[in-house]
């Protein structure tokens, strides 16, 4: 537990400094999800979820994270409806990604509801972030 708090504190310190590093911010998020009872996290499960096709009441056809971000998060994506380009999500391809806690949680809120039809659990978010970080 002490370690978790340490990591969280380090993560917060990193967020406050500019520019933040994705690795630190992801560590902070993982620690926070662990504090909610999730973990350990599995990048392979994150990868599987990335391309999993979800159907739900509001989806006219199956949806996945890849619908807008493509199968490879290191590639440039395209918004499914508006066609606007989306810069790569993986920090290895775009160092600006995963550097802001609020930005990450806001897009998880929106994209999980739109894609999966519900909020993602702390476990799922941890798996997804581990996957994106390790790419």
């Amino acid at each position: 537990m002490n370690r978790v708090i340490m990591i969280a504190a380090l993560g917060l310190a990193a967020t406050a400094a500019v520019p933040a590093m994705a690795a630190d911010v992801v560590d902070e998020r993982l620690a926070a999800y662990q504090a909610e009872g999730a973990g350990p996290f599995d990048a392979k499960k994150g990868k599987a979820m990335w391309t999993q096709q979800f159907t739900h009441a509001k989806a006219d056809k199956p949806r996945s994270c890849a619908t807008c971000h493509t199968d490879d998060p290191r590639a440039q994506g395209k918004h499914a409806k508006t066609g606007k380009a989306i810069k790569p999500l993986a920090p290895s391809a775009n160092p600006e990604r995963l550097t802001e806690v609020r930005e990450i949680e806001k897009w998880f809120m929106r994209n999980c509801k739109w894609t999966v039809g519900r909020k993602c659990t702390a476990q799922e978010k941890g798996n997804l972030l581990s996957y994106l970080r390790d790419l």
Partner: protein
């Protein structure tokens, strides 16, 4: 800091306002106020410009923006939810700069006049914008993969991000410059 900022803003408004009155459509090359006030708010630009072009607040009246900002969880089939503090800040920005709350911008005034009290959620549902585009055939919009929808203003209006929608600046992907005859 505040005291200094206010007279400066007031001065800027005067200059922009005067220009828009003096200049006329035929004087296209003269410097004048843009059609609608450009977006200068960075928070708005990043939050409301991530999925599409950041529409200027002056393209809709305040009541439309209030309605739109109250329904972000189902935003034209998309989830565009914001944290509550951001949502409030951006609603204030949109309402303060809405078509019925700014002076001196021609298109804002024309959109407002065309509305007849209606408060649609879409800019593309305002009678003025509909009328301005009613001669454009579907092949140029829907069947054009680089445009797709009339909502995609910046695809054709090359200086839309500066609040300018002048005809001579129109360049439609795959079609080219627009000659109105």
């Amino acid at each position: 800091m505040k005291l200094k900022a206010i007279p400066l803003t007031a001065l800027a408004v005067c200059i922009l306002g005067a220009n828009s009155v003096l200049a006329d459509d035929d004087w296209g090359w003269s410097r004048r106020a843009p059609d609608v006030a450009p977006v200068k708010n960075e928070l708005y630009q990043s939050e409301c410009g991530s999925c599409h072009f950041a529409y200027q607040p002056g393209l809709l009246p305040a009541a439309s923006w209030e309605k739109l900002m109250g329904g972000l969880a189902d935003h034209f089939g998309e989830n565009a939810e914001l944290f509550e503090d951001t949502r409030k800040t951006l609603t204030v920005y949109l309402v303060t700069n809405a078509a019925d709350n700014v002076d001196g911008y021609r298109r804002s005034a024309k959109i407002l006049r065309s509305l007849n009290g209606e408060r649609p959620l879409r800019i593309t549902e305002t009678p003025y914008i509909r009328y301005k585009h009613n001669e454009i055939p579907p092949r140029v919009i829907r069947n054009n993969k680089d445009v797709r929808s009339l909502s995609n203003c910046a695809a054709c209006h090359t200086r839309a991000d500066t609040g300018s929608y002048a005809e001579r600046e129109i360049d439609i992907p795959g079609i080219g410059r627009w000659e109105d005859d």
